[in-house]
C-alpha cells in the first residue's frame, strides 16, 4: 500500500520508513502489515477512533514503545534507543497549571538545551537560537510571559518551537489541535504547513478531525476496525472505502467546504470508553 508515486522521491534517507508493523493489545490485534514511507516535506494525517493505536505508533517511532512486529527506520537508522532528537514531537495540548514557574520562551529553551547535562550558564548561541525559533512560530509578543497566563493556542505555538529546535527531518504531532478554537487551529496548521514546505520536514499528524488539515494533507492513514487504509484524501475519504474499513455502513458527506463522516459506530464507542473529553471524535 505504500509504493505509490508520493514516495518515489529518490531520497537516500527518508524521514520515516516502516515495514511490516503490527500492534496487539493483549489478545486483540489492532493492526498488522503496516508499511509506511514518509517523504521529505510530506504531510500525512493519521485518522481513526481512540484506542486504535495511533499514539502508540508515534511513541514507537520515537523509540518509547515497542511494536508487536515490524521495523521502523528514521533518517535511514533503525529505531533502537529511547527518544530521538532528529524527530520533533508536538504532544496534545494540555494547559499548563497557572502557577507553573516557566516563561513561554523557556518551553522553547528546553528543546534547544534541555537534554544537555550540566547547569548551563546562559550563552549567546542558545539565546539567539531560542529567539529565532520564537520568532519563527510567531510567539515573540508573548514569549516572556509565564506559560500559565498564555492561551492554548499560544502554548501550542511554543511547543512547536520546542519541537523544531533541532530542525528535525520528521515532525510527529499527536492531536495538536485538541481544545483549540477554530482560528487557533488554522494558525497552528498553517504554521506546520509552512515549516514542512520551507524545511522539507516530513509530518505525521494524528487527528480526530480531518477538516483543519483537509486542504494541505498529502496522504491519509486511516486506522479502524483492526485494519487500515493508506492513500490520497480523495481515495480514502469515500463512503465505500470507509464502510469497508469499519465493516459497517458509514457515509462520507461534503457540506459547506467541510467533510463529515456519519455513523462510524466504533469511533463513537471507543471514544466514550477511552476519552472523557467531549470535544473529540470524528466530527459527525
Amino acid at each position: 500500500m505504500s509504493a505509490d508515486d508520493d514516495t518515489a522521491v529518490p531520497a537516500t534517507r527518508p524521514p520515516l520508513r516502516i515495514r511490516g508493523a503490527a500492534l496487539r493489545r493483549g489478545e486483540r490485534e489492532l493492526w498488522s502489515g503496516l508499511d509506511l514511507d514518509v517523504a521529505p516535506g510530506e504531510f500525512i494525517a493519521v485518522l481513526g477512533p481512540s484506542g486504535s493505536g495511533k499514539t502508540t505508533l508515534l511513541r514507537a517511532i520515537l523509540g518509547l514503545e515497542h511494536l508487536s512486529a515490524g521495523t521502523i527506520e528514521t533518517g535511514g537508522r533503525l529505531v533502537q534507543r529511547r527518544g530521538n532528537r532528529r524527530i520533533g514531537y508536538v504532544p496534545q495540548q494540555r494547559p499548563l497549571p497557572p502557577e507553573t514557574a516557566l516563561r513561554g520562551r523557556d518551553l522553547v529553551t528546553l528543546g534547544v538545551s534541555g537534554h544537555r547535562f550540566g547547569f548551563g550558564l546562559p550563552n549567546r548561541r542558545d539565546r539567539e537560537r531560542v529567539d529565532a525559533l520564537v520568532a519563527d512560530v510567531g510567539a515573540s509578543a508573548f514569549a516572556d510571559r509565564p506559560v500559565g497566563e498564555l492561551s492554548g493556542g499560544e502554548q501550542q505555538r511554543l511547543r512547536i518551537g520546542q519541537a523544531i529546535a533541532d530542525d528535525p527531518d520528521l515532525l510527529l504531532c499527536d492531536e495538536p489541535l485538541t481544545s483549540l478554537d477554530l482560528a487557533n487551529q488554522q494558525a497552528i496548521v498553517s504554521l506546520i504547513d509552512r515549516h514542512r514546505r520551507d524545511r522539507g520536514t516530513g509530518v505525521l499528524f494524528v487527528t480526530h478531525d480531518i477538516n483543519p488539515v483537509l486542504d494541505i494533507v498529502d496522504r491519509i492513514l486511516y486506522i479502524a476496525g483492526g485494519r487500515f487504509t493508506l492513500g490520497r484524501p480523495d481515495e480514502v475519504l469515500q463512503t465505500s472505502v470507509l464502510s469497508e474499513l469499519y465493516g459497517a455502513p458509514v457515509v462520507v458527506l461534503r457540506a459547506g467546504g467541510r467533510l463529515v463522516v456519519v455513523g462510524a459506530p466504533d469511533a463513537e464507542d471507543a471514544h466514550h470508553h477511552h476519552h472523557p473529553d467531549p470535544d473529540e471524535g470524528v466530527r459527525a
Binding site: L64, Y89, P91, P98, L102, L110, G114, G118, G120
Partner: protein
C-alpha cells in the same frame, strides 16, 4: 511561665551574644549551606509535586537515625541509610504520582513508628531523642557538622550536573522522553540527591520540620517569579535567610532553633504570597 520568663528564654543570651556566636559558628555555616542547597532542591520538589515524598523520606530517615542511636552507631550515617532506603523505594515503586502518594502514605507511619520504637528502647540522654524529631543544630558535634556540610556540597554538585535534563523532565516529561533525555536515570538520580539532603536537614531542623527548608523557600519563590534563573536564585536566598536568620535569632535566648527557622521561612512565604497576588488575579481573569 510569665512574660518575663518568656523574655528571658528568648533574649536572655543577648549579653553574651558575641561569645555564643563564636561557639556556634560552624552550625551557622552548616545552616547556610543547607539553606541554599535545600532551596535549590526545593524548586524541583515543587515542580515534580513531591512535597509529600520529602515528608515520607524524612520519617524513614528519622527511623534510621534512631536505630543508629540505639545501637551506638553514628546517627548521621543512620539517617543517610534510612533516607536512601526510602528514596530508593519511592523512586522504584512510585513512578506515577498516584502510586507514589499512596505508597508514601503507607511508608510514613511505619517509619515514624519504627523511629519511636527505637527511641523508646534507647536509654541514653533523653535530649538526644527529641532532637531527631524537632532538630537541634547547636548540639551537633563539629565532626558531624563537617560531614553535613560535605554531603550538602555533594548534593549541590550532583544537582548542578543533572540540572537541565532534570528541569526538562520535571516540567515536560513527555517531550523530555521524546527528545532522548534519560528520564528514568535522571529521576532516580534526583531521588538519591533528595534522600541525602533530607538526611542532612534532619540533624539541623528535625524530621518533622524538614519541609520548612525543602519546600517553603521554593514555594515562596514561585509565588513571585517564573524565570529559569530568578526562581532558583530566590529559593536559595530564602532558604539561606531562613536557616541563618533562624539560628542567629535562636542563640539570643535558650529556645530551640527550629521554631525560628520555620517561622522565618513561613513569614517569607506569606510576604511572597501577598506580593504575588496580583499575578494570580490576572491569571484567573484570563482563564475565566
Amino acid at each position: 511561665m510569665n512574660w518575663s520568663d518568656i523574655g528571658d528564654a528568648m533574649f536572655g543570651g543577648m549579653a553574651d551574644y558575641g561569645a555564643i556566636l563564636a561557639l556556634v559558628s560552624n552550625s551557622v555555616i552548616a545552616g547556610a549551606v543547607l539553606g541554599v542547597v535545600g532551596g535549590l532542591v526545593g524548586v524541583f520538589v515543587m515542580q515534580r509535586d513531591m512535597a509529600f515524598a520529602v515528608h515520607g523520606i524524612s520519617e524513614l530517615s528519622f527511623a534510621g537515625a534512631a536505630f543508629a542511636l540505639l545501637i551506638g552507631w553514628d546517627v548521621v550515617t543512620g539517617s543517610i541509610v534510612g533516607s536512601l532506603i526510602a528514596a530508593g523505594l519511592i523512586g522504584w515503586l512510585g513512578a506515577r504520582a498516584r502510586d507514589r502518594n499512596s505508597f508514601i502514605g503507607v511508608l510514613m507511619p511505619f517509619g515514624l513508628g519504627l523511629g519511636i520504637l527505637f527511641l523508646s528502647l534507647y536509654s541514653g540522654r533523653s535530649a538526644n531523642r527529641f532532637s531527631l524529631l524537632t532538630g537541634q543544630i547547636v548540639s551537633v558535634q563539629n565532626a558531624q557538622l563537617g560531614w553535613l556540610i560535605a554531603i550538602s556540597i555533594l548534593v549541590l554538585l550532583g544537582l548542578l550536573f543533572i540540572w537541565r535534563p532534570l528541569r526538562f523532565d520535571s516540567l515536560d516529561p513527555q517531550s523530555a522522553a521524546a527528545r532522548g533525555v534519560p528520564v528514568t536515570g535522571v529521576s532516580l538520580g534526583f531521588m538519591l540527591l533528595l534522600g541525602l539532603i533530607v538526611a542532612v536537614a534532619i540533624h539541623i531542623i528535625g524530621a518533622l520540620l524538614v519541609m520548612a527548608l525543602l519546600v517553603t523557600p521554593a514555594a515562596a519563590a514561585m509565588r513571585i517569579a517564573s524565570g529559569p534563573w530568578s526562581v532558583p536564585l530566590l529559593a536559595a536566598l530564602f532558604g539561606f535567610v531562613s536557616a541563618v536568620g533562624g539560628i542567629l535569632l535562636a542563640i539570643a535566648g535558650t529556645l530551640p532553633v527550629s521554631p525560628y527557622i520555620t517561622t522565618v521561612s513561613f513569614l517569607i512565604y506569606l510576604v511572597c504570597r501577598l506580593a504575588g497576588r496580583r499575578r494570580g488575579r490576572v491569571t484567573r481573569e484570563r482563564f475565566a
